[in-house]
């Protein structure tokens, strides 16, 4: 039996102020952060607004939309993000 090449990355997004639990999905490594962000926002039923936006962070760092899951995960088989509401007004 041959070895199985990893083709997906287990992806989890948490957001503390939601009635729903974490968002979990398996994605190919070439999937972008923006794809995950939009899917997580749909899961948590939130949307961007003129005065704030939602971003994904990994290890505290804001992730750019075009970054791929593979580049974040590296050799890992899973990656975890936090969905953060970034408030621009004040």
């Amino acid at each position: 039996m041959g070895t199985t090449q990893q083709t997906t990355i287990k992806t989890k997004v948490t957001f503390p102020v939601s009635k729903k639990g974490p968002f979990s999905e398996d994605y190919p490594p070439e999937t972008t952060v923006e794809t995950v962000r939009l899917a997580a926002m749909d899961h948590f039923q939130v949307a961007d607004d003129a005065q704030f936006t939602y971003v994904l962070t990994h290890s505290g760092q804001r992730q750019e939309p075009e970054t791929t899951l593979g580049s974040i995960a590296g050799e890992a088989h899973a990656v975890e993000f936090r969905l953060v509401k970034v408030i621009t007004q004040g």
Binding site: F15, P16, V17, S18, K19, D49, Q51, F52, T57, G60, Q61, R62, R82, V84, K85, V86, I87, Q89, G90
Partner: protein, 145 residues
């Protein structure tokens, strides 16, 4: 002093907050004299040697936002400019004018409804602390003063 319901709800949610802070080289300290007050020990990702000590005072949890002021150390006095980080919306040394603080909602009653309204689902305590950590990690430009 906050009501019993507030203290019980805070106690239920504080473990997740402490776990989050520990992952970011921080810690959570509940005030010994007033258990509705929590002190945070936090640092920006870019400058691990810089420590900040926000004081969160809850009046009615999870129903309203906490007062957030920075002190020079845990159980220290607020109102010291050098105790505050420089972050957009943080008006040193008076308040954080954003819709996750009691000070922000007092200044902007219009935030009380609509998309800026205070969230009561899930763990708002953790949400506030995650927001403070995000600001330190991604919008920090140095110590005030």
């Amino acid at each position: 002093m906050a009501d019993v319901e507030t203290l019980l709800n805070l106690a239920e949610h504080e473990a997740a907050v402490a776990e989050f802070l520990a992952k970011h080289d921080g810690r959570l300290v509940r005030d010994e004299e007033d258990p509705s007050i929590y002190w945070l020990d936090m640092r920006p990702r870019s400058v691990p040697t810089e420590r900040y000590y926000p004081r969160l005072a809850w009046r009615s949890y999870p129903h309203s936002a906490p007062s957030i002021l920075y002190a020079d150390l845990i159980r220290g006095a607020p109102g010291i400019t050098r105790a505050w980080p420089q972050i957009p919306g943080y008006r040193t040394p008076n308040d954080i004018c954003k819709p996750f603080t009691a000070e922000g909602f007092a200044l902007h009653p219009e935030w009380g409804s609509g998309p800026d309204a205070w969230p009561t689902d899930g763990n708002p305590f953790l949400w506030v602390v995650e927001t403070l950590q995000y600001d330190l990690d991604n919008a920090y430009s140095g110590r005030a003063g």
